[in-house]
């Protein structure tokens, strides 16, 4: 298969450019966030800020409880977009603003981040802009969350 002009090198999305329309919704997926996920993310990312694992410290600096790493939430948005596109190499641009905290209580449920998407714009070179909505409870935890995805 020959890559189209502007195609990301390596990896081809399974979603076809000609089959998506502006305004098309990508159904929401719920991602659980428990304390153990934050501990694992701290280790894998190297971000050991205690507000992400130590309740005593989080409360001492004025937070309601332990909060998720913003980058953990952003990574869930990355999962959402790469699972939709079908190939992680199809994501050529991905940016977010962290608009509110994901508070993660120390219980069996933890928190949930619910992510959905919408095709915002079709670009040249078989690329699309996907805008993500990420909510935890009633709060929007990401704003200006968008990805440019190289489709087939």
């Amino acid at each position: 298969m020959t890559a189209k002009p502007g195609a990301a090198k390596g990896g081809i999305a399974t979603v076809k450019y000609d089959e998506v329309e502006v305004g098309q919704e990508i159904p929401a997926v719920d991602y659980p966030v428990r304390r153990v996920n934050l501990v694992m993310y701290a280790g894998a990312s190297g971000d050991f800020n205690p507000i992400h694992w130590n309740e005593r410290h989080a409360k001492a600096v004025g937070l309601p409880d332990v909060i998720a790493h913003g980058m953990y939430t952003m990574a869930q948005g990355g999962r959402f977009i790469t699972d939709w596109a079908g190939d992680p190499g199809a994501v050529v641009d991905y940016g977010v603003r962290f608009s509110s905290m994901v508070v993660v209580p120390d219980d069996d449920e933890g928190a949930t981040v619910s992510i959905s998407g919408r095709i915002e714009e079709k670009l040249d070179g078989n690329r699309v802009i996907v805008v993500l909505t990420a909510k935890s409870g009633d709060s929007r935890v990401l704003s200006k969350a968008r990805a440019i995805v190289q489709l087939a």
């Binding site: 390596g10 894998a44 990312s45 990574a75 869930q76 050529v92 641009d93 940016g95 990805a147």
Partner: protein, 149 residues
């Protein structure tokens, strides 16, 4: 304390290239709960058209901030790291990052601005191969709460 605007434009180079390994990609993917085989198995990645396992889109956060640590720790900048929160993050890819890449990272302070009582500092990290091929750029904005008060 207001941040020192003289730091805008300063660039910091990581002391050594970052070697991307299959093990680290798999660890990072597991930590974000992503079992996509393209992150975990070379054969799955190759079958999908990649030369090796691919790093998830947010993976560069693992290494792209290390050079900036030098700036953040410089007392002349005036940053109180205890008050820092992540405000914005963006990754712009020329190509995916693969296991086996040796990546050089240079981080530049591109902007410092006040919004209300807060100080915003933006960094751009240019990630390239030893041959000078640009692989990705990471843009990171942090906010120091109360810094401009």
């Amino acid at each position: 304390m207001a941040l020192n605007r003289e730091f805008v434009g300063r660039a910091y180079e990581a002391s050594a290239p970052y070697e991307v390994s299959r093990v680290k990609i798999a660890e990072f993917a597991t930590a974000i709960g992503d079992q996509n085989p393209i992150y975990h198995r070379e054969d799955a990645a190759v079958a999908a058209g990649h030369p090796d396992v691919v790093a998830p889109p947010t993976f560069p956060i693992v290494f792209s901030m290390s050079a900036a640590g030098e700036a953040f720790g410089d007392p002349d900048l005036g940053l109180d790291f205890a008050m820092v929160v992540h405000a914005e993050q963006r990754f712009e890819y020329e190509r995916p990052i693969y296991a086996g890449d040796r990546l050089h990272c240079t981080t530049t302070i591109t902007e410092i601005r006040s919004v209300g009582r807060n100080e915003f500092l933006t960094l751009r990290s240019d990630v390239s191969t030893g041959e000078g091929e640009l692989v990705c750029r990471a843009y990171n904005t942090i906010v120091e709460r109360g810094g401009a008060a």
